[in-house]
Subunit: 318 residues, 2 copies
């Protein structure tokens, strides 16, 4: 009986080859929730966070096309909030339906979550995270004139639609709704929080918060959420069963277990891709250095076995 | 020191003449929250719900324009969920900022809320609630072919863009997340719930829930939320200080106080417009018949005075 914070990967909601219809996403979320219910049936208490890349990308394209009809596009903090509502609802409904079938009467609630970042984060100087549609060079030039604060970079070699807006991906500092979330978890609610890395906000000089155009890494934000709900296990679910040394090379080797020191060494040696396994390992290291006892990276399908210690990459204190 | 359930009208978030930019909406929500904080400073405990008409309308237009770029539009249950995230975030941030300035440390949380409706609701047979953009006759014909389940009606006299999609507006039966919301309120959290009337869901034969294409009246859903959180006062804030007899006519007369019986009589006599004051009065009657003691309809600016009994239309048991 453990408290487990689960960070769901993008494939838990939308498969890469799909268009992202309602039916596709609901089916994927249902499949995901069936895995989660297995953990609940084992007696574990869950707190859930998730990505939002495809959903935020779709909304950004819709917002862009809506401008011609006079609909003002909303900035990235609102886009995140909207996808938190969207994905939270899908998880909430499917999880409640499956719990009901099991005769389990546990409340589930999605809470809109702001995540504090620093205005001085270096990523605001040199934004790196691509979001939204691909543009031609001409479209990119036009958009730069229309949106003076946008940074658009060439993200693929060649010609045509190879430009994309890039936004800052600052490091999350803390979960703003920490107090509410802690009370909800203590009240026995399965909480879905900090979706898509959370709504990015900065603190103004007077101490109040305001939204900022950025996208926070969902695993790193999930780690800050872990500091709030103090789980026994921080479980990152992605599309591979284990992290690898020399991933994708002929001598690739799965990692069953690594200490903080080993994880840091592998990270420095470049075994984990930035924007992929890299931030997941960083999030796990942070969790353990904060005081967590056990972090696991595995696939959605192997979640139960990984919790039982049978598979996955386990990261542990030195 | 009362527990007050507040249903915010559309003008609390977007003024009719505005385009709905981020800056406009944030400014309005801030103004709204300044009024709410006055009530909190008086010692009252708030639960908040709100409308989403303009935001859902904007999103529907964006979704429609995004189809040409291959982005699948999401149905109305998801649209509601997205606007709950959007508006909940805006209220949450502004309220937290203002509370902090007052030195009040009260957690605020928006919870994605599903609202159960019946598949047998008569409004599913003859939908009446207009949503989204206006179309020409040609556009309407084309859309009907593309979306076999859409109903499009002529909503204005004359030619041109006078057609609009109409959707069912079924009666809310109950708040699905009742248990979670009750625990949150009991834990001292200022809860924002059931925004835009909530995510419409129906119960399938196996007892599980699924989303349905509909829009629920936010005041009637607010009343169902009241049955969950059991407030001392159900406060509906709109753009007029009081309800009127013979509204808009030379002999119009403000109503200071009416009993359930009087309210029902006035309603039957047609004093309250359907889609406007009508559902607000119906929601108040329901609240009192459920067992509530006091319902008030007034404007945002008069909220404090109305709670003090100095203005507003007070609806009371017989």
């Amino acid at each position: 009986m453990a408290r487990i914070l689960i960070a769901l990967g993008g494939n838990a909601i939308k498969q890469a080859h799909e268009k992202g219809t309602y039916e596709e996403q609901m089916r994927n979320v249902r499949y995901t929730c069936e895995r989660l219910v297995e953990l609940i049936k084992m007696g574990h208490q869950l707190v859930i966070t998730h990505g939002n890349g495809p959903q935020a990308g779709a909304l950004l394209i819709q917002q862009e096309t809506g401008v011609s009809l006079g609909i003002p596009p909303q900035p990235l903090d609102v886009v995140n909030a909207m996808t938190q509502g969207q994905i939270g609802y899908m998880i909430q409904q499917n999880l409640m339906n499956l719990l009901k079938k099991e005769g389990l009467n546990i409340p589930v609630a999605t809470v809109a979550t702001q995540v504090l970042v620093s205005k001085d984060d270096p990523d605001f100087q040199d934004p790196s995270k691509p979001v939204g549609p691909f543009y031609t060079k001409e479209e990119a030039e036009k958009l730069k004139q229309e949106h003076s604060h946008w940074v658009i970079k060439k993200v693929k070699p060649g010609e045509g639609k190879v430009y994309r807006r890039v936004v800052p991906s600052p490091d999350p500092i803390k979960i703003v709704e920490a107090d509410a979330i802690r009370r909800m978890v203590d009240a026995g609610i399965i909480v879905i929080a900090s979706g898509g890395g959370g709504i990015p906000v900065v603190e103004k000089e007077d101490g109040t918060l305001e939204g900022i155009e950025a996208v926070i890494d969902k695993d790193k934000a999930g780690e800050r959420l872990a500091e709030v709900v103090e789980p026994d296990i921080f479980l990152i679910l992605t599309d591979v069963e284990k992290a690898y040394l020399n991933y994708g090379k002929p001598d690739q080797k799965p990692i069953d277990r690594m200490t903080i020191s080993e994880a840091k060494k592998y990270l420095a040696e470049g075994h984990f891709l930035p924007g992929s396994m890299g931030p997941k390992v960083v999030a796990c290291i942070r969790f353990l250095e904060w005081g967590g006892k056990r972090a696991i990276i595995t696939s959605l399908d192997k979640a139960v076995e990984a919790i039982e210690g049978k598979t996955g990459t386990h990261i542990v204190p030195d």
